[in-house]
């Protein structure tokens, strides 16, 4: 908080304090409880699909992750397309945004929205509007982590 005040005039700092008094506080505990149970349920569904793929289609525990993820993304496409996921998101917050269904929702919602700009420039150009940052930072952080780990191992670390 302190460094946010760095470039502010005394009047702005004083107003910031006044504004804080009037701000409607976020119901943190309520939001966390909702995020917990909705997120947990989505993971339960994922677990059910994992076992389904293991026992019905002979996937192993390691390889069942792939069809499970694809199925969850498919479900999020349906929920997003039918206008349900945005309501769920308002209720559950991170409970619906953190699971891979949230990733699917961010991609599908952007695709659906930008169809009006055409399939090439609209859908194609905007589909990763929200999800792009996850992919970029996921890849880059994995790159850095594995690079560091590899270098350490080469020098007899592990």
């Amino acid at each position: 908080m302190a460094n946010k005040n760095k470039n502010k005039t005394p009047e702005q700092i004083a107003y910031g304090q006044l504004e804080k008094k009037h701000e409607l506080k976020r119901p943190v505990l309520k939001n966390c409880i909702r995020a917990f149970w909705v997120g947990g349920c989505i993971c339960l569904v994922g677990q059910a699909f994992t076992y389904f793929y293991i026992y019905m289609f002979n996937f192993t525990e390691k390889t069942a992750g792939n069809p499970t993820t694809a199925t969850m993304v498919f479900l999020s496409m349906l929920l997003t397309g039918f206008g349900i996921y945005d309501r769920l998101g308002q209720y559950a917050g991170a409970g619906s945004a953190v699971p891979v269904t949230g990733f699917g929702n961010s991609v599908v919602s952007a695709a659906i929205e930008h169809r009006t700009e055409g399939y090439v420039l609209g859908v194609g150009g905007n589909i990763f509007k929200l999800a792009g940052t996850v992919i970029v930072f996921g890849v880059f952080s994995a790159f850095v982590v594995v690079l560091i780990r590899t270098v350490i191992m080469m020098w007899g670390g592990f």
């Binding site: 502010k8 005039t9 009047e11 702005q12 700092i13 107003y15 910031g16 006044l18 504004e19 008094k21 009037h22 701000e23 409607l24 506080k25 976020r26 119901p27 939001n31 997003t80 397309g81 206008g83 996921y85 945005d86 769920l88 998101g89 308002q90 559950a92 917050g93 991170a94 619906s96 945004a97 949230g102 929702n105 961010s106 599908v108 919602s109 952007a110 659906i112 929205e113 930008h114 009006t116 509007k129 929200l130």
Partner: protein, 337 residues
């Protein structure tokens, strides 16, 4: 307050001759249902894109306002209007349709009063005989541009506001009847103020100082007490902005009472609608003024209103670049004389 007067006084008191107010499905479930001329059943209005739907809202509202006075587009000399969308394309495209010489305006949610103030000045000084003014907004086109795709499951905080899907337009000109009509008697042009708020989900908190500044300036320029007005109503400060403004009035020792100080963003929707802190958008103040407030004036409930439309002058880019939110408020005094 230092500096020259920011207020125009309109000696010829131009009148609001007729209005057209249209809304979307969400507004149809709100509290001011009887004060709209027409509602649309969905956000698309039979169009391919949200932006075209917003253009249709504008065209409909203008048509309704013209028809009430048996006017054609060719009877109108100027069209002053604006909206939130990039390069104000819905309004410009509607101006293409109605082919009235066009002033495209932008002051975000303060556009309604910016257009009314300029129109009143033009009419008052004989620059035109009839002018159409107004503002519009569309929930989905605004969300798409400023926030997230409409089907995205993002969680809005309690300070967020809901952009109105609606258009409010009016024909302004010298009064033609003998009886009392709503007239614009003065207007105060606001300065841009930035008190360091940077959260785009907290518009009310960002805009409150601008509203208070313009109200204070108006009262000073006119040498008036707040009690002159039956209603001092802001465009879209909503819950947080309104309570901050009341606090600021107290600090400045301006005798604005809680009862007389209202907000369009708090009037338009019902308690049960999920709008967090209240409504917003250029359409908000336009539909409430040209619909509900003028109807209340005609019923005799209000004689003198000061409408202070408030705008947050940010863009999605400015927010990403870490900028704070500069705001502005324009005020028009409307009296039933």
């Amino acid at each position: 307050m230092p500096g020259k007067s920011q207020t125009w006084v309109f000696d010829n008191q131009p009148a609001i001759l007729s209005t057209g107010v249209v809304g979307g499905p969400f507004e149809k479930n709100g509290r001011l249902v009887d004060d709209f001329d027409r509602f649309f059943e969905d956000l698309w209005l039979g169009q391919d894109t949200y932006e075209k739907a917003q253009q249709k809202l504008i065209e409909e509202a203008v048509q309704i306002a013209l028809k009430k006075q048996n006017l054609q587009e060719t009877d109108i000399q100027f069209f002053l209007a604006g909206d939130l969308i990039n390069q104000i394309t819905p309004t410009s495209f509607a101006a293409r349709t109605n082919a009235i010489p066009y002033f495209g305006l932008f002051s975000a949610c303060a556009t309604s009063m910016e257009s009314l103030a300029l129109a009143a000045f033009i009419i008052n000084h004989g620059g035109a005989q009839k002018v159409v003014v107004g503002a519009s907004s569309h929930n989905a086109s605004a969300e798409k541009q400023f926030r997230y795709p409409t089907e995205y499951g993002g969680q809005k905080p309690p300070s967020a506001q809901w952009t109105v899907t609606g258009a409010g337009f009016a024909v302004i000109g010298p009064a033609e009847e003998n009886g009392p009509v709503p007239r614009i008697t003065s207007a105060t042009i606001g300065k841009v103020l930035d008190l360091g708020i940077s959260d785009p989900f907290n518009m009310g908190g960002a805009m409150a100082p601008a509203a208070v500044d313009t109200i204070e300036r108006h009262l000073q320029d006119m040498g008036r007490d707040p009690s002159y007005y039956d209603l001092i109503i802001t465009g879209d400060l909503a819950k947080i902005g309104r309570s901050i403004a009341l606090d600021l009035f107290r600090n400045k020792q301006l005798a604005v009472t809680e009862e007389q100080f209202q907000d369009c963003g708090l009037l338009i929707y019902d308690e049960s609608q999920p709008v967090q802190a209240g409504a917003s958008g250029p359409g908000c103040s336009a539909v409430v003024l040209y619909g509900h407030l003028l109807n209340e004036m005609k019923k005799g409930r209000y004689k003198r209103i000061l409408l202070v439309a408030t705008g947050a002058l940010l863009s999605p880019l400015s927010f990403q670049q870490g900028e704070t939110i500069p705001c502005i408020a324009h005020a028009c005094a409307i009296e039933y004389l």
